[in-house]
C-alpha cells in the first residue's frame, strides 16, 4: 500500500516568507542587482552627458530630468511596496512582510527627498522659483511626511508586533496619496508639466531623451531593489540579535534562580 504525503504544500510566497530561505536567495541575487544597477547607471550618465541633446526650451537643464524622474517614480514605488507588504502582514501574517515594509521606508524617503530636491533645483532656472505650493509638489511633500510618520511611529513603540500592526494600518491608509500625486497635474492647474512618459497615448518625449531616461530609471530601480534586499537582510539580523540577547538574559536569570534555590 502506498503512503499518502500529508506534508502541507507551501505556496511560493510562503516559501519566500521564510527568513532563512530569504537570506540565502537574497545573498545570491543582491550582488547581481547591485552590479547591473551600477553598470546601467554609469551608461545612463554617459548618455545623459555625452549623447542626449539639449531640450529646445529647457536647454541643458533637461539633464536634471534623468535623475529627477526616476527618483519621483521610486519614491512612489517605495510607498506602493510598503502598502503591499502591509496588506501581506495584516491579512496573511507573513513574518517577512513587516520586515519588508520597515526596510522600504527609509529608502523610499531618500528617493522622495531626492525628487523634491532635484525638482527644486530644476524649478529655479525654469520657473523662477525653488518652490511653489502647487498640487504635484505639495502631494510629494506629503508623501515624504508619510514616510517620516511611518519611521517615527515604528521607533516610538517598543513592542515589535504592535508597531508592525499600527504601521501596516498607516501604510495602507497612506497609499491614497499615490493616485493623488499621479493625477494631480490633470485634476488641478499646476506649474508642474503633465505626464510625458506614462500616458495612454504613448510618450510625448523625443526618443533621444526618452532612452537615457528609461535606462536611468531601470538602473536606479535595480539599485532600489538591491538596497531593499540589504535593508531586509539587516532587519532579519537585527531581530535575530534581539532574540538571542533575550535568550541570553533568560539563561542568566535561570542560572541565578537555580543557584538561589540550592
Amino acid at each position: 500500500m502506498s503512503q499518502i504525503d500529508t506534508t502541507p504544500q507551501q505556496t511560493l510566497t510562503q516559501k519566500l516568507a521564510n527568513p532563512t530561505r530569504f537570506m540565502q536567495l537574497s545573498g545570491t541575487l543582491m550582488p547581481w542587482f547591485a552590479g547591473a544597477a551600477a553598470a546601467l547607471i554609469l551608461y545612463a550618465l554617459y548618455l545623459a552627458f555625452f549623447v542626449a541633446p539639449e531640450d529646445y526650451q529647457q536647454g541643458q537643464t533637461v539633464k536634471i530630468m534623468f535623475i529627477h524622474v526616476p527618483a519621483a517614480w521610486l519614491g512612489m514605488l517605495g510607498y506602493a511596496l510598503i502598502a503591499v507588504s502591509s496588506f501581506g502582514y495584516l491579512v496573511f501574517r507573513h513574518p517577512l512582510a513587516d520586515v519588508s515594509a520597515k526596510a522600504a521606508a527609509p529608502i523610499g524617503a531618500a528617493f522622495t527627498f531626492l525628487a523634491l530636491a532635484t525638482g527644486s533645483l530644476w524649478g529655479k532656472p525654469m520657473w523662477g522659483t525653488y518652490w511653489v505650493w502647487d498640487a504635484r509638489l505639495t502631494s510629494m511633500l506629503i508623501l515624504l511626511f508619510l514616510y517620516f510618520g511611518l519611521m517615527a511611529l515604528r521607533s516610538a513603540i517598543e513592542d515589535e508586533a504592535l508597531a508592525g500592526k499600527l504601521c501596516a494600518v498607516l501604510g495602507l491608509v497612506g497609499v491614497s496619496i499615490l493616485p493623488i500625486i499621479k493625477f494631480s497635474v490633470d485634476w488641478w492647474n499646476t506649474l508642474h508639466q503633465p505626464a510625458s512618459v506614462i500616458r495612454m497615448d504613448g510618450p510625448t518625449i523625443h526618443p533621444d531623451l526618452l532612452w537615457p531616461l528609461l535606462i536611468s530609471a531601470l538602473g536606479f530601480s535595480l539599485l532600489f531593489f538591491a538596497l531593499h534586499m540589504k535593508g531586509i537582510r539587516n532587519e532579519i539580523l537585527r531581530r535575530r540579535v534581539k532574540s538571542l540577547t533575550m535568550a541570553e538574559v533568560d539563561r542568566a536569570r535561570g542560572v541565578s534562580a537555580s543557584a538561589a534555590a540550592e
Partner: protein, 58 residues
C-alpha cells in the same frame, strides 16, 4: 569640462545631492549590516543559539 550653459550650477548641484544621499544610504546599510553580523557572532561565540539551530544539533 562639459559646457552645461548658464544653469550649470543647478545641474551639478542636483547630481551632487543625488550622489551624496545615495552614498549615505548605501554606507549606512553596509555599516549597519556589518555591525549586526559582528554582534550576532559575539552572541554565538558565547554559546547563545537559536532554538531551531539548537534543535537540529540535537
Amino acid at each position: 569640462m562639459i559646457d552645461l550653459g548658464p544653469h550649470a550650477a543647478f545641474i551639478w548641484a542636483s547630481y551632487a545631492i543625488y550622489a551624496a544621499v545615495l552614498v549615505g544610504v548605501i554606507g549606512w546599510l553596509v555599516w549597519d549590516g556589518a555591525r549586526l553580523k559582528l554582534r550576532l557572532a559575539e552572541l554565538e561565540a558565547r554559546g547563545v543559539s537559536r532554538r531551531s539551530r539548537a534543535a537540529k544539533e540535537i
